[in-house]
Amino acid sequence: MSLIRKPQALLLPALLALSLSACQTTSPTAAGDGSVSYGDARAVETVTTDLGSTDIQMIAEKMTQSLLQTPEIRNAIKKRELLMASPVKNKTSEYFDTRLITDTILTQLQKNGVKYVIEGEDMQNQVDELRRQNQSGLYKKSKSVKMGNMQGAKYRLDGSISSIVKKGSNVKDVYYKMNLRLIEIESGVVEWSEEKEIRKSAKR
């Protein structure tokens, strides 16, 4: 009796294992219908003539490479002089966040030893935290940061991006020009400036 039961007892787990293995895949992906996929963030993007990832990356790359060659930036690295980025003016007909460009430039400069200070929308968080530590009465004095020790930047980056759009009967042509300047804040002297031009065309 026990001899007859044994193969049956083995058959059920084996079938279960087989049915489970049929569902298994070596691809580390979650369930999906395959309509969504990941692409290369560094690929050349030519979906439309609007400013896109490739344009942002090319602009930031050129500006960083050019900035690193300036004596002011080299000195800033040596002497730990501070940099900040004013909001770049978007004069194109499209909406996009120009901080995409300046944030990338600042990050790449920072990797090379340039120190920069925060400004604009990040400033509020900084002020809030300083006030919380000093004025809320929640923190030990010995373990909280002091007010009045923030450092000002010596240089600021400022610039604009403009576009000229031309439309023919069967073609659309867009010319972008990004201008970036490095300004010594105390004197207002422009120490460095650079431009990047991009032309994009599409058949209509």
């Binding site: 692409g39 560094r42 050349v44 979906v47 490739t54 090319m58 790359e61 490479q65 690193l68």
Partner: protein
């Protein structure tokens, strides 16, 4: 292509800091610095110069179009240290139009002081046997 790469001296002008670029100059041919994604039919790297100045590697590459028609090129640099490790994030692919029979000069400066060597990745959609065909750039997103 082979003949050109073998005969065209890689003009690694080792001005400034010759020692720093000694590793980069190893091999001494354009072929050792260029990585083509599929053999290019019409575009050839005919000159390449590298110099380290003020701590930054400066590269100048001449790409010649041997065809009468315009050619699309995609390129990017990979920045390496003496030991062959990458010292910077992957660069974005950059598009470039090379007019018929034009010799286009491409210049680049390393984005970091740590770079002592480089590789130039090239892809042209009309490459012979390229893994990409039509108007698709490497991993490119195109308007369908």
């Amino acid at each position: 292509m082979k003949q050109i790469t073998m005969t065209a001296a890689l003009g690694l002008a080792l001005l400034g800091t010759p020692c720093a670029l000694q590793a980069a100059a190893e091999g001494g041919t354009i072929a050792s610095k260029v990585e083509e994604l599929g053999k290019m039919s019409y575009l050839k790297v005919t000159d390449m110069r590298a110099v380290k100045r003020d701590g930054l590697l400066r590269i100048q590459v001449t790409i010649s179009n041997t065809d009468n028609s315009n050619q699309q090129l995609y390129y990017r640099f990979r920045w390496l240290d003496d030991d062959g490790f990458t010292v910077w994030d992957e660069e974005a692919w950059k598009p470039e139009i090379i007019y018929g029979l034009q010799k286009k000069v491409i210049q680049a400066v390393s984005p970091t002081f740590k770079a002592t060597d480089f590789r130039l990745e090239l892809q042209s959609p009309k490459n012979e046997g390229a893994p990409f065909s039509g108007s698709n750039p490497p991993g490119g997103i195109t308007n369908q």
